[in-house]
Amino acid sequence: MNWKNILSLMQVERKSSRLIRGQKITRYRENRFLAYWPYWVALVIGLASGVLAGIIYNFATTAEPELLIMFQNGTVRLFFSSLPTLVLVYSLVFTMMQQIRLSGVKTSSQVPYWLPVTWQEHTMASILASLLGFPLASVIFITSIIIVFSLFIGQVVAALLTSLAVLAAAFMASAATEILRILQVRFIGAVYKSSGRAAVWVRFAGSLIFFIVFYIGYFYVTSGGAVNVIQTIASAQTATWFIPFVWLGIALHSFTISGLLLQGFIFTGLSVIFIVGLFFSATLLNKRFGLYEPPAITVSRGVYAPKTGFLGKIGFSSVEAALIRKDLRAFTRRRELMTIFIVPIVVILVPLMQSIGQGEAMPAQAFMLFLGITFLFPASIMAMSLGSFMIGEEGQSVWRIYASPIFAKSLVKSKYFFIIFFSLIVLAITGILGWVIYQPTLRATIVACFEAVFLAMAVGTISLSIGISGADFTEAPRPRMIRPSSSFINLLACLLASIAILTPFFPYILSSIMSEVFPGLAGITLDPFLALGVSGIIAVVLTVFFYRIAIKNAEELLLKAEI
């Protein structure tokens, strides 16, 4: 293997982030220090945290000698031994996330196969490049903190072994991701081929299921907090010794805690064999399927028959209806846009998972909270996400909008309809789910539904107006859709608007709580419908105001018309 080739290929991947950061293109000169800032920052924070932890340890053990005994009994080494598996889990999640992001941009993720680079070099570069960014920064942080801390507690050998194991675990995770990536491309290709005209919908459903399972798994792993995760991993890795991914952790445990050197060497050897096996499997798969292109998806084969269209009948012009239809296809066919549908689903599923099993024991406040989350959040989040992405999702194809006879009003109208349409669908689904699970009163259901509509209306226009002015049409290395600063402003503006719209309910909530605390005040509970009315007025005012701003921003966008 030519490591110079590998490093060159990795540099290409690293430099791809320049486009994301939107640096100036002409007379570009790279600042080497700034280019590697995440790793420097991770290193500095890691070293500082290690020193801080060491100082605290010194103080604590001086004050409480029992702590010293506890540390010497192996608590730290137990923690160390769980780190490789912890890093493996996180690296798997983040390298897979990286691949998911890249999957939408075929051109940027394709290595130049026509160069004199062997498959081993290409595979190694791809595995290492997947670690760039957060996974590598976290490995640097972890290794630097434990090495420095180990100097204070006299566990340098354990810390060095752990650091090596952590690096190996990260590589293992990335190699596994590489294998999954290649298999996924091949598998999806086979599915497209066999599903024929239904391929679009198979892909849509498949992607939704994949993302939901992925995110629920992610939240399941992380929601218990880092300590729980470490405890679970530490206990699980000995019970699951037959899984090769935990062999590194077992080896480390054998060396540093149980003192079973032979077992340690065996598991170290097995780990090395497994890592080499993963690498060669990835290389073989790349060799076999690396150049594989999924077959073209055929959507229709019949005689072309343009539809008169339902949208035209309900008052949309042909331009507006065409834009809406086009966007509908974009959101059901572009993988990176499908993730927008995942957010509300995950938002509703996570509290649902937490609430199920609590049954009738759930306190009234928690019940209200879950009900509010189920009814209000998903539709609003959908409106916010869609609104901020609706223009930026055009990507480099936005020239088609610029070059077509489209007025700003039509553009905003079609995009806003799309936002509200999908938000209402989400509301309908989550509303039915919430009603079935929580069985609220009819009055509470009506109020929650109307309030969700008000929020979606206002948040939709705010996000759309900010999404237009902050649109980012960059597509490589991944679609951006909105500038980070605009995204932040949007989040803030939506939050403030939501508070303003929900404000009329605060006296109602307060009066409800007061009547519970002081039964004598029960009679003065405020009417929620009054709050709903005031809330509706605020929402309408905000909607109209930001809709006008959206039109103004769209006029500027079309006038500027530069990609």
């Binding site: 998806i297 959507v299 018309a561």
Partner: protein
Amino acid sequence: MSEVFAVELKNVVKRYNEILAVDQVDLRIRKGEIFGLLGPNGSGKSTTLKMLIGLVQNDSGSVNVLGVEVKTDPVAVKQQVGYVPESPRLYEFLTGIEYLDFIGDVFGMQTEEKKTRITEYLKALQLEGREGDMITGYSDGMKQKITLISAFLHKPKLLILDEPLSALDPRSARIVKDFLHQLKTQGVTTIMSTHVLEIAQAVCDRIGIMYQGKILALGNMNELRDMAKLPDSGLEDIFLKLTGTDDIRAVVEELAK
């Protein structure tokens, strides 16, 4: 603006920060004319073409297209123009037919007319049978055909074509060239930019050569020959002489060392 001219540029300037892309350009293109805009890379051709459809705003001067000042009413201009950009990015998630259907709707075409024309164009450019595939699965040539069809579809009065024949197979390229001549007889104006000088020589009535943001030479082939003082030469020699890039032999000899 005169009834005679489809396009009229007066003293047009466009800067990209410190780079002067278009430098005080004056240009008039007659209705029904096929006009070729040539020039080395970075000479300002694409910027000039983009200004004609409002994709780039001129810093000063006036850009008048089909009697409309582009800055004042860009939508009215776009309604009458068919545009093929230098490197078109299509909606890759749509099928070919869906994309053309979208274009037809955006230009307000009637359903039957849209269907007839789309079917005709797909047949002429041999895309029949692949129109139901997603564009992401198309070759570059097929994507170019879809882009060309989308420019012709709504019967525009002015065609602005930036490298229109790139990636096309010989048959399709010939169809497009002949079709442009056919459209000329119907009064359609075509402005095209190309690096293939044989195409420009064969297709265009007049040619403008841009260099460093300025129109260096303008006229039909005979007028260009006179300007370059190369009476029996082809466009390639004229182009190289006028743009001062005729040091080919020296460069090749240097490279061969």
